[in-house]
Symmetry: C3
Subunit: 424 residues, 3 copies
């Protein structure tokens, strides 16, 4: 057994970090699925499961075929390379094929090419997951899949090229460690655009100005989803250190995980605390969404904020989320799971909070969050409108009333359970 | 790329081990939530979800603000420092800020300060999770949260100071590798004290001496919870090696994980096997609780017992748990999920089993388990009584009959499902 | 702190890889449990939970007592050693006991003995999990447990001895990286034999030739199960590199994880796409099973196939699975969860696909898959027949109609929920 060089050790640590934390981020796809399928009414719970496993599959494929290259390969100011597929490097293939001589060249590259692809791929899937919840119960299955394809092959990768890919925002020093803006505002803005184009669920906003309550159909499943997201976020933020091969990397990772947990805890507590004044009752769902908002808020700067600030950022995120759930209702925007408050609004807050908490440049942060949100919203809105004119984005009134499970899939989520007749 | 020194490598390995296994222990919070929300009646399933996500948030905050310092900083014989907040060391902050010169000093400290905090924090949350299940369906939400705060800021940290913090029990050589006593007896004793003060659910023990059966409302969710706990326990026990930077550490970790799995398997099988004679039927819930009891039992000494002994310890733990579920019923103690049998009784057994199985000192082990259980029970009892006199600990008869979900939260767990009317 | 030798570092990395990925594979047991308990009718959901936690416990014990040695110790051509228990090496025990001098000898062995046991143990449990789903709703609890014991103590270990243990198939160069054949065909063939002996559920195949639809009772839980499996598969395939101590290992692991995800995504998409022509509707369950089939298909060669081929292999696996679900119905084989299509048929495909995709030897691959499937099917069939003649394998008509939950356990899965009366 030969000695391991420092370069080889770093290659092992860095690559392993991508793989392991990446696997944990993949698990977040299950979290979104549970959160969403427990939040929708029983008559749409199967379709939302299909949308979620479908979107994870589509995102992985789209990012493999086009997205990654557009985001990371030969990035100019605006976009990377429009080319297809991502493969290990020639040296890596040689080493895999047994050419020991390639080892030195490979280990000098810091990490395996495809381990980075894997880690980035689970992020694009996260952006896609944000959309499905907001549009649940009325968006057409196939239109949603087409949108997912565009989002994960083009919209998200272009935002990514500007920033992590080294484009114009990256060059300006835009601070967004694990993607408060890049992932969560992008996903949240895409969700908002979709919610506006697709429109609210029938009867959600009544003509007399009142709002129909549409409580989650399966609260333990929603709660499970949030715990999965919290757990997976350790991979999301921890892995975003992008390295593990030195003391400073693992030290930063520890800092990041602690901040992540503190912000989520603070978001939960703050959201529960303000839920009574804002929503009129101590609210579990506000608390759950507050946890997510805390997580989203800290995601822009868990590496550079102190633990005190992490608590403050998370708490404010939780309050913003709770308040904006109310606001969206006022604005008659129907977001079934509160994805826009928890991802878009908390993401904006988190991105800007780095200015206050850690001295990030206010102009750059504002420019970043505005351009990312604006671009994601605008392109998404166009795509949703095109889909509306072509495939249609909304199920028929009859399908909506029957539920998509029976009408689109023929698979009830809970076929043996006797359910309440829906109120007229 | 420079070479990595042995010290730096150990720093990376040790810190990463804390972070990774700690994240897995956090996941146990989801396990308790599922176990408990599936075990309670549907009318209380939302509140138990809120209690669990709330307790995890509160525990993390309390342990950050006070608990950790009380447990680990400047520990005398009885308690550590009464001071606030926990931060990275000055050298770590310097290194994070880019002062490369701090690296050597930092890596000589073996692991990142906050990675240890993270790992210890998820343990205190576990102790809190044990309580919520036992008291489900009748304890007030806010009283429970206040108790959680006291438990995680003071009671658990003081027990921890005596032992892992280096206090009097630690100095005597008390053997409790990952906390059969420190975590599970503490949590179990706090749960027992609460169960006694809060009292059984109405109608649980009828005046004619019979016991009302209150079966779990959602068995697959309970089972999921137990699988999550089993999975998470690899982090709980494996991470408790507290190091990964040498062959001996990873070797011990392998030993620990194998013992953990063997004891859980033996606990499951033994509990199923004795469930028919003891409970009158082959019992899934006994088997599930037996798995937990096996896990709790091995937790005191997975590092020093042989694999044969791990099986024996786990099996006896499973039997004790099953038998004491029956015993508690006889004593008219209402523990909704069997937390006292699985955590307190199996924890006592596991702590003492190290005497038989691995030659731990019987006096020390007895003293340890008695003082920990006594202290946790006594202080918890006082806190519960104070809460009873002030906030009240028990929901009103009306709330209990309606269910806490509707009465305290206004959120049904399964609002669309038609449920059985409750028997009079 | 002394420097760490290359050998010690490799020992740490390799052992840690076994433990960590092994823990993730254990989590797959929860995935099968959710998949199965959501797939069966509510009246059998508790029993399937008991079967699953029981089988995981039994598998771990059987493999500890006998299985591992039969598979890996002193393997001749056909079987290993018929001896009992597995323990750390004497040198390891010495090192654990503090004999520093043993360190050099220990680290030269590459990994901790019991870490390998742990990783292999979770694989045998997987094979057992495959069987429970296929036979759900009518196989007797105790007969199933006895079969599990034989499968995990003898049948699977013998197949394993031929291959990974270094027996005749291994010597021929049979390619089966993580067990498309060894784990999934073995489990799938055992399931098929059981399904044939136990027979279909009453009324599943009506005398008029039509098939009674038995949709899953809890779709979100099924979906959760599939996500757990997908997540756990990163451990299943990634850990099967069996080493992490060199750049080439972690590079291969990255390749394996990417292929695993691509194949699963392709399997999902392909299965959804062909579900309409084959099954008459866009089918969530086909998509979910397609994900599993994609995962099984790539498992034989994720290390040696390109990413393009991984996509193709997974997609074909998804199509085979969907088509053969239909085929089994035609043949009146009642496989409740589609375990035979997803594990046996996709496993055969995956094993043979390495010939096309990566130049594996066609004769060896054919011989391997035939002998493994034939042996597993034949021995399983004999065991099931013996069980039929002795304990009985099938519950009575009355128990089947009442449901095993009430009749065998006395524990309803969802006791408070009002359920549909079953159609005559």
């Amino acid at each position: 057994m030969s000695e391991l060089s420092g370069a080889e050790l770093q290659f092992i640590f860095n690559t392993f970090s991508f793989l392991l934390w990446g696997a944990l981020v993949m698990w977040m796809a299950a979290g979104f699925t549970m959160l969403e399928s427990g939040s929708v009414r029983t008559k749409n719970a199967s379709v939302i499961c299909l949308k979620n496993i479908g979107l994870y599959a589509i995102a992985g494929m789209a990012y493999y075929v086009i997205g990654y290259n557009l985001m990371y390969v030969d990035v100019g100011s605006l976009i990377g390379s429009f080319s297809f597929f991502r493969s290990p490097s020639a040296d890596e293939l040689a080493l895999l094929a047994g050419a020991e001589g390639a080892r030195e060249i490979v280990v000098a590259t810091d990490y395996a090419v495809m381990s980075d692809w894997f880690f980035q791929m689970v992020f694009v899937a996260t952006a896609g997951s944000i959309v499905s919840g907001a549009l649940a119960e009325r968006v057409r299955l196939w239109s949603f899949f087409v949108f997912t394809l565009v989002l994960t092959a083009f919209i998200y990768p272009i935002v990514g090229a500007w920033t992590w890919g080294g484009g114009w925002l990256g060059a300006m020093g835009f601070q967004d460690f694990a993607g408060s803006s890049i992932v969560h505002c992008t996903g949240g803005a895409a969700a908002l655009a979709g919610a506006l184009v697709v429109g609210p669920r029938r009867h959600k906003f009544r003509t007399d100005g009142t709002v129909t309550s549409t409580p989650p159909s399966n609260v333990p499943v929603v709660t499970l989803g949030v715990f999965i997201l919290w757990f997976g976020w350790f991979g999301f933020n921890g892995g975003s250190q992008l390295a593990l091969g030195g003391a400073i990397d693992v030290l930063a990772m520890a800092h990041v995980l602690v901040n992540t947990n503190l912000a989520a805890a603070a978001g939960t507590i703050a959201a529960i605390a303000v839920s009574r004044p804002i929503l009129g009752r101590v609210d579990l769902l506000a608390g759950l969404n507050g946890a997510i908002a805390g997580l989203v808020s800290i995601t822009a700067g868990p590496d550079i904020t102190t633990h005190y600030w992490a608590i403050a950022i998370g708490a404010v995120g939780g309050v913003i989320c709770t308040a904006s759930m109310k606001l969206l209702e006022r604005l008659k925007v129907d977001d079934v799971v509160g994805a826009v408050p928890a991802h878009l609004f908390a993401g904006v807050w988190g991105t800007l909070a780095t200015v206050i908490a850690a001295g990030a440049d206010i102009v750059t942060q504002l420019l970043g969050v505005l351009s990312i949100t604006g671009f994601a919203f605008g392109t998404s809105w166009v795509v949703w409108r095109v889909l509306e004119k072509t495939m249609g984005v909304r199920v028929s009134q009859k399908v909506e009333e029957m539920g998509q499970d029976v009408a689109e899939l023929g698979i009830d989520a809970y076929p043996e359970f006797v359910l309440m007749p829906e109120p007229e």
